[in-house]
């Protein structure tokens, strides 16, 4: 049971910077998920913690121990690989027992530990088989068992669920969370799947191009993302972004993009700005209502329990649109969540925005935290 600390860790491969000055403190017993697209450097960070990769700069601490010069075997961390990396020539029993055997643990003790962990993960009946004879879900459990049996300082998991069928993946996710709460050990889990990250993480580290963009609880990352990239990466369906301009309205400012107009507070002055709003904060109605914008449904994506509705807004009623983009401005498109089968392509709808929940970003994608919308229907 130990925390892990990264101090200004940078990793360069030839010309490419895979990890760029990442500092983070992972607390003892915490379940931390590193979330990023492929090539974001998330696996590299995990491999640096493991000692399989050596950082170009910076330091790694496990507990209070500086482990920069430690071989993987001296770090006492367990790793679960995406491919599971079971030893194909050994039985499941031998696979799980391998690390204990290396440490010359007495035979009876190994036997007890292996059978105990196998029972816990429901793979007792597979112990005499070879990895090739097991299903994907079983192999994943063996990989986990191999990690648990060692009682390591911390667990490193590199996309361990991504090779599983969707259905098993959900169960495996729940089970992993249960195991974590039982073991109360430090877990560092890498994934590109934001839903997986959200459900598993105590804290979530979002990574892009090797940089740590935000390291916070899933709730904070969802409601209070540090940048447009983070906002777009978490949440499904993806956040809607409208690019518009801040214009003066008498003494106040407002965000304008075609027919969309949001009175703003806290902005510094005119300029380009992006507003982000979650599809579930876009409210659709059949009947006209105050402040509702008329739109037409251009597409419906069936998500199962709900539909994602694609909407083109009608141009602003006043021909003299104050939008700074000029008259040829393209139609404003939005997405909303609605109950399944409520809307069909071609329907006319009225769109309301839950502007209190809107987020604002500058053209570089940085969050403008001081800016808020005060959307008061006229």
């Amino acid at each position: 049971m130990t925390g892990i600390r990264l101090e200004h860790v940078t990793k360069r491969f030839k010309t490419e910077t895979a990890v760029d000055d990442v500092s983070a403190q992972i607390e003892d017993g915490e379940f931390v998920v590193i979330l990023g697209a492929s090539g974001s450097g998330k696996s590299t960070i995990l491999r640096i913690i493991a000692g399989l990769e050596v950082q170009t700069q910076g330091h790694v601490y496990i507990g209070d121990m500086l482990v920069d010069d430690y071989e993987p075997r001296d770090r006492n961390l367990a790793m679960v690989f995406q491919t599971y990396a079971l030893y194909p020539h050994l039985s499941i029993y031998q696979n799980i027992a391998f690390s204990l055997k290396i440490r010359h643990v007495p035979r009876e003790e190994i036997d007890r530990a292996v059978r105990q962990v196998a029972a816990r993960l429901g793979i007792s009946e597979t112990l005499e088989r070879r990895p090739a004879q097991l299903s994907g879900g079983q192999r994943q459990r063996v990989a986990l068992a191999r990690a648990i049996v060692r009682n390591p300082e911390a667990f490193l998991l590199d996309e361990p669920l991504s090779n599983l069928d969707a259905k098993i993946r959900t169960t495996a996710r729940i089970e992993l969370k249960r195991i974590h709460s039982e073991l109360k050990q430090t877990f560092v889990f890498v994934t590109h799947d934001q839903a997986e990250a959200m459900t598993l993480a105590d804290r979530l580290a979002v990574l892009n191009h090797g940089r740590l963009l935000q390291f916070d609880t899933p709730q904070k990352i969802m409601s209070d993302p540090a940048s447009q990239y983070v906002a777009s990466f978490v949440g499904s369906p993806e956040m809607v972004f409208l690019e518009g301009n801040v214009v003066t309205k008498g003494t106040a400012f407002a965000f304008v993009d075609g027919p969309v107009e949001l009175p703003l507070m806290g902005t510094g002055g005119p300029g380009q700005i992006t507003v982000g709003i979650r599809p579930w904060d876009v409210v659709l109605t059949r009947e006209s209502r105050d402040g509702g914008l008329l739109g037409r449904v251009t597409g419906v994506e069936r998500l199962g329990s709900s539909d994602q509705i694609f909407i083109d807004l009608m141009p602003a009623p006043s021909a003299a649109s104050p939008s700074g983009r000029g008259p040829e401005t393209a139609t404003v498109s939005l997405r909303a969540l609605a109950r399944a089968y409520d809307y069909a392509v071609g329907d006319s709808v009225y769109v309301g925005l839950d502007a209190d929940r809107a987020l604002f970003f500058d053209p570089q994608g940085h969050r403008l935290e001081s800016v808020t919308a005060s959307y008061r229907p006229a």
Binding site: T83, A85, S99
Partner: protein, 281 residues
């Protein structure tokens, strides 16, 4: 149409088998022939039982000098040492070339590939000059070195290619489980390489076992170190110019037995090695 195609395919395959098998059949019946000096012209393709004898085998086993046993012993020493040494080194070579990053790795692989393209006998002269200088002519070690070297080159590439197909994850899992790289090599990678090592051992054994050119140059003066290939040539190359095909074929039959035995013993691995890449579990 499909039937015609199948028939044509089978006719071609059967013809090819006949071409491959007939010489072996010919050698077998000739080696058992009673004809005093089995001659090609006097040969019958389907001999009667009365025309069969073990006389040629008896002559090979008991009436030759150097004795067949001595020739066999030498061949096994040479081929066995070459296979063992060559393979041992090749395993490390393959490991290094497959799993380690170091400058010049690709160049080195190409270098080895190019070397393996040269026919071995063009190196005989330089080897001879070199070994004569350091007194290794007519010694066991003098022949084991070039044989092993040949095996390293060839098997090294085989092992490298095979190790490339073993995911790095597996070695890394072993490192995480508490092994150093050398231990991970011996306890995880090497056992996984058994199929290719079996094939490589077989090939590394056959080469020296059947080699005539190098042995003929290196083992000139000392018949006690002669190999089977040299012994066979000695029988075939009579002073009279009259060939005793019975003796030659009986010798060839006996000489091939260890290879067949070797093959049977390691069949599992050799076939596994030959069909590599067909199935990946």
């Amino acid at each position: 149409m499909r039937i015609a195609k199948r028939v044509a395919t089978h006719v071609i395959l059967i013809a090819a088998c006949l071409f491959a098998l007939f010489p072996i059949y010919f050698i077998i019946i000739t080696s058992f022939s009673t004809l005093p000096i089995a001659s090609i012209t006097a040969h019958v393709l389907v001999p009667k039982p009365s025309q069969l004898t073990l006389a040629s085998y008896h002559a090979i086993l008991y009436d030759q000098s150097p004795s067949f046993a001595s020739l066999l012993e030498n061949s096994l020493i040479f081929a066995g040492s070459a296979a063992a040494i060559g393979l041992g080194l090749a395993a490390f070579t393959g490991f290094a070339l497959s799993k380690f990053q170091f400058p010049g790795r690709r160049t080195f692989v190409y270098f080895i590939l190019i070397i393996s393209l040269f026919p071995g006998f063009i190196m005989i002269l330089p080897f001879y000059l070199m070994f004569a200088k350091i007194g290794l002519i007519d010694t066991y070690i003098g022949l084991i070195i070039p044989y092993s070297a040949g095996a390293v080159v060839f098997s090294g590439i085989l092992v490298k290619n095979y190790m490339d197909s073993i995911p790095d994850d597996i070695e890394e899992a072993a490192l995480m489980d508490g092994l150093g790289r050398t231990e991970a090599f011996f306890r995880v990678l090497l056992p996984l390489c058994l199929p290719i090592l079996g094939l490589a051992a077989f090939l590394a054994f056959i080469g020296p076992y059947t080699d005539y050119a190098l042995a003929n140059v290196f083992l000139t003066a000392d018949p006690t170190k002669w190999t089977l290939a040299l012994g066979l040539y000695n029988i075939a190359n009579t002073d009279t110019g009259q060939q005793n095909y019975g003796l030659v074929t009986a010798f060839a039959m006996l000489m091939s037995l260890p290879i067949v035995a070797f093959y049977m013993a390691f069949q599992r691995y050799i076939i596994g090695g030959l069909t590599l890449g067909a199935v990946r579990g």
